[in-house]
Homo-oligomer: 283 residues x 6
Amino acid sequence: MLDLALIRPLIQSALKEDIGRGDITSQAIIFPSSCGKAEIVAEEKGILAGVELAKEVFRLISSEKVEFSYSLKDRDILVKGEPILIIKSEALNILKGERTALNFLSRLSGIATLTKKYVDLTHPFKVKILDTRKTTPNLRLLEKHAVKIGGGFNHRFALDDGILIKDNHIKACGGVKEAVARVRRSLSPFKKIEVEAARLSQVEEALAAKADIIMLDNMSMEEIKEAVKLIRESNEGTLIEVSGGVNLASVVEIARTKVDLISVGQLTHSARSLKMSLNLMES
Amino acid sequence: MLDLALIRPLIQSALKEDIGRGDITSQAIIFPSSCGKAEIVAEEKGILAGVELAKEVFRLISSEKVEFSYSLKDRDILVKGEPILIIKSEALNILKGERTALNFLSRLSGIATLTKKYVDLTHPFKVKILDTRKTTPNLRLLEKHAVKIGGGFNHRFALDDGILIKDNHIKACGGVKEAVARVRRSLSPFKKIEVEAARLSQVEEALAAKADIIMLDNMSMEEIKEAVKLIRESNEGTLIEVSGGVNLASVVEIARTKVDLISVGQLTHSARSLKMSLNLMES
Amino acid sequence: MLDLALIRPLIQSALKEDIGRGDITSQAIIFPSSCGKAEIVAEEKGILAGVELAKEVFRLISSEKVEFSYSLKDRDILVKGEPILIIKSEALNILKGERTALNFLSRLSGIATLTKKYVDLTHPFKVKILDTRKTTPNLRLLEKHAVKIGGGFNHRFALDDGILIKDNHIKACGGVKEAVARVRRSLSPFKKIEVEAARLSQVEEALAAKADIIMLDNMSMEEIKEAVKLIRESNEGTLIEVSGGVNLASVVEIARTKVDLISVGQLTHSARSLKMSLNLMES
Amino acid sequence: MLDLALIRPLIQSALKEDIGRGDITSQAIIFPSSCGKAEIVAEEKGILAGVELAKEVFRLISSEKVEFSYSLKDRDILVKGEPILIIKSEALNILKGERTALNFLSRLSGIATLTKKYVDLTHPFKVKILDTRKTTPNLRLLEKHAVKIGGGFNHRFALDDGILIKDNHIKACGGVKEAVARVRRSLSPFKKIEVEAARLSQVEEALAAKADIIMLDNMSMEEIKEAVKLIRESNEGTLIEVSGGVNLASVVEIARTKVDLISVGQLTHSARSLKMSLNLMES
Amino acid sequence: MLDLALIRPLIQSALKEDIGRGDITSQAIIFPSSCGKAEIVAEEKGILAGVELAKEVFRLISSEKVEFSYSLKDRDILVKGEPILIIKSEALNILKGERTALNFLSRLSGIATLTKKYVDLTHPFKVKILDTRKTTPNLRLLEKHAVKIGGGFNHRFALDDGILIKDNHIKACGGVKEAVARVRRSLSPFKKIEVEAARLSQVEEALAAKADIIMLDNMSMEEIKEAVKLIRESNEGTLIEVSGGVNLASVVEIARTKVDLISVGQLTHSARSLKMSLNLMES
Amino acid sequence: MLDLALIRPLIQSALKEDIGRGDITSQAIIFPSSCGKAEIVAEEKGILAGVELAKEVFRLISSEKVEFSYSLKDRDILVKGEPILIIKSEALNILKGERTALNFLSRLSGIATLTKKYVDLTHPFKVKILDTRKTTPNLRLLEKHAVKIGGGFNHRFALDDGILIKDNHIKACGGVKEAVARVRRSLSPFKKIEVEAARLSQVEEALAAKADIIMLDNMSMEEIKEAVKLIRESNEGTLIEVSGGVNLASVVEIARTKVDLISVGQLTHSARSLKMSLNLMES
C-alpha cells in the first residue's frame, strides 16, 4: 500500500546517514564479492509493519539482485524468535543495510502493535481509532501507514488535507461562526469541515455552523457524554471525534459513549519500538 | 551545539510535510499580514532539548523578522504550565509552524528527559551513559544532540565513525583475532577498535587482540562481573562497555560493576515524547 | 495566498534554466555594481496573477536589497501600457531575472484572465467554476492559485485530495456499487466521495451508493438536464459537477441547468499567456 | 533526441506532484498485483511529441517491467480515435501515471502541432521558424524539443547560449557600437553576436558593428522590407531574424521578404494542448 | 563575474563535506558566541582567483552578519606573507569554514596563476589562450572563471556549447564532409562549427566544408605551419586553434605561427594549488 | 572499496555539467541506436585509480546494458599505449560519457601515482604516508580513495572524524593543556586526540596532556629529530606525525627520523592528471 517511489529518497538518506563515509569495519573484514544470507528475527511479539521498506533498504544498497527467500508481510503476527525476512545478497551489503532496515522495521512495527491494542480494546464499539499529526518529522507517510496496518484510520496528513478549526483559529477571529463562514467562502467542494470544541457552548456553535465533524478536545467523560447527546439530537450525520490525552486505560470508556472517532497522539509520538535482530546464516 | 546549517534541510522538509499544499484552514481565517504572539508551554516536567530547532522552524516559515521575547535554552528544566518560548511573528506563520515545532521539541525533550534519568541514577558511579545507532531514520544528528543535552555521551554516529567488530563480523571471518588483524591493515591512525563479546572466551580473544574497547553484549550480571575482572587484570587502559536490553531497572546494578560505558538503545528508539502546546496570546 | 517557501525551489530552478552558465551578454555590457530601475508593463488587458512570484524572482537573484516602488497586486485589472511593477535593484540582476519573471507572470495572468471570463459569464447562476488536474507538470500549485485569483475554485490538487471514482476504476472492479464499497472500507473521515457518470444508469448507481458528488462526464445537454432532475429528486445534498470539453460557448447553457460545479480543463492546459514587457528606466 | 537522463528528475517531481501522498481512489479499488493494459488515444488530429516522456512516466512508477506493445513515435501524425501508445503494466500504476503522462503528451504535441502549421505555411520560402525563451518555467528543454519535432529550429536555450544585444542593453551602455565592443572583449570564439534593432538606424549600427545576426524587432512590414534591403546590400552573410507578435496570419507575408529566421513566442507560451485520453482495455 | 546564486549549492555541499557531523574539536574548545577575527594570508606569489567564493563560505556558515574589513579582489597580485582577506565573524564559524575557503581559493588561484604565465609568454602575439573541458568534475564553472581571471578565454563549457567535430565523430560517419553536412541540417543559427584535424588532408576537408574554426590536434610544428599557410590562403575568416600537449616550453613557438587560439588542458587538469593559510588575530 | 551508492549523485551531476542541454555534435552525427565499442588507453605510465567510477559513468548514461569486455582494476600498473577499459554500448552514449569518465580517471590515477612515489620512497622505513583535508571541494571521498590505492593512508575525512587541536584552537583558548581539557569533557570514547605542535615547548605540553598523536607542524629537520626523541622517551605509545610542505625531495630524510606518519597535502591538492584517451574501435 506504501508507494515505494515516494519513500525511496527517505530510505536513501537514511542509508547515507548510517553509512556515512563507508562501513569501515565490514569493508576491512568482508570480501566485496562474498555472498551472504541473513535472517531478521523478531525478539518479541507484535504486528509487523514496514517489511517492504526493509526489503527496499537491501535493494537500494546492492548492485546485484537481492533475493528474499522468506518473508512475512505487513499485518502478520510477530512471534518471538521467529524469522521475519530472509535476505540473500552480498554479505557486505547486508551488514551495511542492517541497522537502517531494523530501525525502520522496529519503529513501524511498534506503531502497528500499539494501534492494534487500541483497535482490539474498542472492537465491540463502532468507533474508529485515528492517528494525529503528532508524528516524527519527515516520517509521517510511513507512520500513518503503520497505523493503518494496526487497524487504525488516518486523520489529516497535512494542513491541506481537510479543514480543522482549532482553538487558536477561533481565538484569532472571534468565534466559531465567523471562522466557519470565512472557510466556506473559498472552500473546495472536496473538503469537509471539522471544528474543535473544548466546551459545550462551542459544540453548540459548531452544530449551528453545520460542521461535518466535531472534535471534543480534552473534555471530561461527563462533558463527552453530554456533547454526544447534544450532537446526536441535533444532527444524525455529524461525526464526533474525541481527542486529547487518550490512553489505553481510558479508551474503552470513551468508546462506550458511541462517538465515531477517537484520535490518539501516542500511536505515533510515543510508541515503543519492537525488538528485532539480524543474523548472518550459513549460506 | 547543533549546527543549524546542517539541519535546516531537515526542518524545511518537515515543514513541507506538515503544510503540504497549504494551511487551508488558517489561510481562510487569518489575514496574511496580521501580527501574532504565541507561547509554547510545557504540559509536563522534563528537560528541554531542541529549542534552537523550534526557533528555526518559525524563522524559516516567515518572510519577516521573527522575535523571541522569551526563551528557555537546551538543558533547562521544564515545569508544567510554564512557558518555553514566546514567538512574535505573523499569526498565520505561527500557526503554520506550530505542529512542526512541537513535534521536534517534544521528541527531543523526551529523549533528553529519559537520558537524564539514566544519568542521575548512575551518577554515583564513574560511568558514561551512551546512545546507540538505534535512532529514528534521518534524525540521528538531532537525537544524539538530545542525548548529550540529557547528560549522555555519543557512541558512533555512523559506520564510518569507529571500528566496532560485531557478532556477524566475527562469524563471517572466523574469529576475533582474524577480524582485528584485517581491520588493522588499512586503519586510519585516528580510529579506535571496539570488539563485541557475547561470552567470556570472546572477551579473552578481544584482550589478546588489544582491542581499545570491549563491549559486553547481552551478558548476565554474573558474566559482566567476571568479564570486568578479566579485563581489568589484563589491561587497565581497555574501556569496557555494557550493551543490550539495559533499562531503568537494571542500569544501577550494571553501573556498580564499574564498567566505563553503558549504552542504552531505549534513549532514542523508545523515549516518550513530552507534552507541550502552543497558544496564541493577546498581542 | 501563495506560500513562497513552497515555491521558492521552483523559481530557483527556473532562474537556473534561463541563466544557464551565465548571462554572457549582460555581464559583458553592464557593470556589476550599477543600479537600475525597471518597470514591467502590461501589453494587453487582463487580470494580474503571480506578482509575488515575480518579486521573488528579483529577490532571489539579487545579493542586495531589492525595492519595489510600485506594485499592483494579484486580482488587479491590467490596462494596456500601464505599469505592473517597478523594480529597483542592480541593473545586471534585473536583466537576468527579466525573462523568468515575465514567463511566470504572463502565464499565470493568462490563466486568471481566462478564468475570470468563465466566472463572469456564469455569474447570474449559483455555479462554481473549477479547474482540473490538466495542469502544466510541476506548476500545479501556481496554476491553481491563478484560477482562484480569477474567481474560480480548486478541484483536487492531487490523487490524494479526494476520492474520484472514474470510468477506468468502474471498469476495473465491475461497477459503481462495488467501487464505492471498496473505497468506504479504509476511508479517512475527512474525505468526500465523487463518482464520474457517463450515462444516466451510472448516475442512478452513484445515487444508490450515496456519492457526495456526481460528475456528469461528457454528457449532452439533454442528458445533463435529465441527470440533474434525477439527482435533485433523489437527494438535495448531492453536489453535481459537469465536466468534459466545456468552453466559453457552452458554459452558460450548462450553468443554466443549475448544476453546482463546472470544471474546465482549458483554464490550465490551454490558456493564452498575456503580453508584458520589462523596460529599464532612467534611474 | 531527448536525453532521458536529463529530464528524469522533472518527470519524477511531476509524478510526485500528481500523486501526492498516494492515489487513494485507485489503491482502495484495485489490487496491487493485478495486471493491466491501457491505450492512450488521440482525441483530435495533430503531430505527436513527447512519447518517450510518456513511456518514462510509466517506467518510473512501476517496480516491474513495463511493456509497450504498440507505440507511435515523435513526429508521427495523430488521427482522432487512433491509438498512440499501448501500455502493459500493473493496473494500479497505469492509473497513477495516467494524468502525468497525458499532461506531458498533450502539451508537447500541442506545441509540435502549432509549429508544424507555421513551418508548412512558410515552406515555399527558405526561412527557419524559431522558438523563443518565452517557455514554461522549468520545461524549456521539453518545449524546445517539441518545436524541433514540429519542424522548427531552436533559438538560444538560455542567456549563456549566444550573445543577443537587446533594447535594454543598448539603453544601458549608450549605443549598439559600444555594446558590441564590450562584448567582443571577452567573447568565447564559439559565440555569435546578434543585435536587436527596433528601427533602421539601429540596423545600420548593427551592420557597422559586424553583428552576425540582426533581429528586426516589432517592425512594420515596410520597415522589415527596407531593413532586409539594407542588410543584403551591405553584407550577404549577415543573418536576418524577424521577431515580435508574429502569428499565423502574418507569417507568410514576413517570410516573403526573404528573411532567414522568424521567431514565434506563441509556439511555447500559448499553444493549445491536444486532447488525448487513456482507457483501460481488456487484458 | 561569478554568479553566486549558481554556485552556492556547490559551496554548501563542500562545507557539508568538510564539517561532516560537526567540528568536534572547535565546538569543544570555543564558545559559540565568541567573536573572532582572522586573516587569510598568501604563502607564495601568484594571481588571486575565487575571493568571492571564500567570502560566501563564511557567509553561508554564519547565522550572524560577517564583515570583511580588508579584501583583495580577483586578478590582484598575491605577495608572500601579505593578507588576502580579513574576516570578522563568530570564531567558531571562521574555523569551520577555514579549510573549505582555503581549498577553493588555493585551487582557483593556482589556475589563474598558471594561465597568467601562458598569457604573458604569448603576449607579443595576437593569440588567445583557451581552456578545455579537462576540468575537475563539478567545478567547471569555477575553473573556467579562474582561467578568465588569469587572462585566458573559455572554450566550450559543455557539449551543448558549440559544435566540435572530433576524431571519433569523423570515424563514426565516414568523413569530415558527411559530418559537417549532418550537423548543418538541424543547427541553431547561434552555433559555430569547429572541426578537429589531425593531418593536412583533414584540414583541407574542413576548409572545403566551410568550418568556422579548425583545430590542429597534436600536430608537429612543421605540420602546424603548413596548415596555417593552407588555411590563411584559403579563407581569411577561418579561426585556427592548436591543441594537444601544449606546455610552457612549447607555447611560444606555437604562438609564433600566428594561429588564433591555443588551448591548454594543463590549465585546469594539472595546475598546482597556491599555498595560503588562515590565522586568528587579536580581535 | 568505493561505495557507488554514495558517489552516484556526484557522477550524475558531473555528467550533467559536461552534457549541459545535450551533445549537439554527436546527436547530429550518430544514430541513436547504433552500437559502439571504444577503448580507454593510457597515454603515460602510472597507477590506475577510479576505474569503477568510469564504468559507472557509462552505465548511468545508457538506457541499455553496457558491457566491459576488458578492464584493468584499481591499483594496476598503467603502460603507455595499453588499454585500460573496453566499453560496448550505444556509440552516442560512449561519446557523451567520454570526457566525464576521462576526467575522473585521469585525476584519480594522478593522485594514486603520486602517492605511490611517496610510498615507494619511504618503503624502507616503518612510516605511513597520509593525505590531508586539502582536497578538491566535493571530491574528498574519491581523492582519499585514490590515496589508498596508491598505498597511502587516510587522515581525517572531516572535522567530525577525530580531534585535531591546531594552532588557532590553542591561540583561542590559551594553551594546549586547556584545549585538551575542554575536549575531554564531552568526548566520545571512540575518538583519539591529536595535537599540533609548532615548537618543542608545545610538544611537551601535548605530552603532558596525554595526546594520542602529536603532529610536528612545519618544523625543521633538527626540531623534528629533537621532538621525536622527546616523545619516544616520554611515551612509547604516542604516534608522531610530520606535516607541512613535505615533498618528494624531503620525504626520505623525514622518514629516516622514524616518525610514524607523514602527511602530504600535495597528494590531493597538486597532483598532475595522467594522460588518457578514448578511441572508438571497429565493432
